[in-house]
Assembly symmetry: C2
Homo-oligomer: 346 residues x 2
């Protein structure tokens, strides 16, 4: 069983795979990308994944067979195991607990070549519904208090399979970064009696220079203290704490902003590797006045990462104002022609 271990200085929990640890030679092996043409997530290969836990499929079609447009399956190589209890215990001065958690994969589309920038609004809505449905389902399990939805796109961003997919991890502890965000939000709230994210939205709309897209319900912008070139955040304009509480109207509003922003990044940066992560409130917290769910998109353009990991000290070579302008120019210019461009390149 994998286990959680706590750093005694920082209080950060780390997942350690104790079962079959990677040996030195495993890291020298050729990249998983080169495993050849077979893709377990493609249409027709439904029996090559663990049995699906949910799917959106044609009426009458059978689970784990064709007829689907979105499938959710357990990760075949999960970082965590869903069985058992936490069993918190010490080892000398250290703390550990069982690596309890769920690790699922949302297969976004049957199309191996699919990209967010090319999805229809309807496809994006379906993916968002799937995110919500899985969190709501997993949150029935009272052992879990946090749900992390994240996408690794491209090898450089950590994806081991090319087929478009998102991962969902359910864990019994709140990640340090999320705790810090909530604490930071609380400190701001205590001082101003306003949500720092709501203030940021107002500030961004008023200054305008970092805004990428905006509609009735959502806004995307390059944050003032962006860590990475073209880092972009998406927030609901109304104060909302839990991603999984989005309703139909929210999904209709979020879809074009998420898709549009990713499309701009895709076009502006030549289909870059990227991560996006949904930051949401732990499910055992109520509607906090000081935290606001949001999506952080981080294109992986630079290699200067190892140092940044280690120090939390980031150096960003592209000002967010410039990044937002590049993206906005694309929108105003030729984004609308992209369907044509895609057709001609296909």
């Amino acid at each position: 069983m994998p286990e959680f271990r706590k750093d005694p200085v920082l209080g950060r929990w780390v997942i350690i795979a104790t079962e079959r640890g990677k040996r030195p030679t495993d890291f020298e092996a050729p990249s998983e990308q080169s495993r050849g043409g077979f893709c377990p997530f493609c249409y027709g290969n439904e029996d090559k994944t663990p049995p699906e836990v949910m799917a959106y499929r044609e009426a009458g079609s059978k689970p784990n067979g064709p007829g689907w447009w979105l499938r959710v399956v357990p990760n075949k190589f999960p970082a965590l195991r869903v069985e058992g209890e936490l069993d918190r215990r010490g080892e000398g001065m250290y703390d550990r607990m069982n690596g309890l958690g769920a690790h699922e994969v949302i297969i976004e589309t049957p199309d191996h070549e699919g990209r967010w920038g090319w999805y229809t609004d309807r496809q994006v809505q379906e993916i968002l519904w799937a995110y919500r449905d899985r969190i709501l389902e997993l949150s029935k399990d009272k052992r879990f208090c946090y749900f992390m939805l994240f996408k690794n796109k491209g090898k450089e961003a950590g994806a081991s399979l090319d087929h478009p997919h998102t991962q969902l991890i359910a864990i019994p502890t709140v990640p340090k970064r999320v705790r810090e965000e909530i604490k930071g939000g609380k400190a701001y709230y205590d001082f101003r009696e306003r949500c720092v994210f709501c203030d940021m939205i107002a500030e961004e709309i008023s200054s305008g220079s970092r805004v990428v897209m905006e509609n009735r319900g959502f806004i995307s912008f390059a944050p003032f203290a962006s860590r990475f070139p073209f880092e972009t955040w998406i927030l609901p304009k109304r104060h909302e704490t839990h991603f999984e509480r989005i309703d139909r109207d929210d999904i209709v509003d979020l879809a074009p902003i998420l898709k549009g922003t990713l499309r701009m990044l895709q076009e502006c940066l030549n289909n870059p590797p990227y991560n996006f992560i949904i930051h949401t409130t732990p499910c055992n917290e109520g509607a906090l006045p000081h935290y606001h769910w949001h999506i952080e998109i981080m294109p992986k353009l630079t290699k200067v990462a190892g140092f940044e990991w280690g120090t939390g000290f980031y150096i960003n070579p592209t000002p967010p104002e410039d990044a937002a302008e590049f993206l906005r120019n694309l929108r105003e210019g030729n984004v609308e022609d992209l369907s044509t461009r895609r057709a001609s390149s296909a």
Copy 2:
């Protein structure tokens, strides 16, 4: 001038290059590695770097000419500028200040092909003296309160030049990660009245399973909650807070541990890309009872990084006990034969 910008939620300062920001096409350019054979750090090319600020060189040899075995030069493309004042100011709800700081490069050796695992003990000592000398010199400038020494080795670890070098950044603010470590150490000290790092050293020596090397003054081990495969930390066994206060005896003890550990990683993992970072106490703090300087070495073996940056949630596929055992086996087995191996491969 570059600027520091503060994230309003997390309180993290980020450096934004505002002068000539990287444009989208800059990221598509071929890697800097492919710039051809010329290396500005090589012997004989002294006029291709900014003028040296320090060098260890033969008596009678002239600055910025041959005759050196170690040179320190300002970074030609500094992340920070040494001129001016901080000029803290607001912009709407946000905080910014001038990107004031020093950014130097320690050219460790004239040998382009040099590696830590191959250096003599004497060479390593010289490099450590240079680290110390530069911090002591820069700490005369009262605008700076933190000194960050870090090495990016290999393109995957963020190095843009192959020639062996270390970077030193002097900044007017303490990085968030360091503040958190000090705070974590303080919390532990308040509870137990002992240094958490001193306790860790005792625990590691007593359990033994994660120890890599040890001598009179220093120990290297794979930390209990390692974030990355083969992550290794080096600590002085005596409680010491400031790296720059090391003396001759410390340097004599540290050299074989640092070199030996990097040599094991080099041999075990086929000369991997890695970062090492010296974590030390801010120079405006006294000898804190709850913080302990140390070196964190992070081989860059996995690509699953983007997600980890974004969440602080790490998944490590190699248990530290296994990593330490692989490294120790190498030491007991054939590390002593490496000089032969090198000679035969040359």
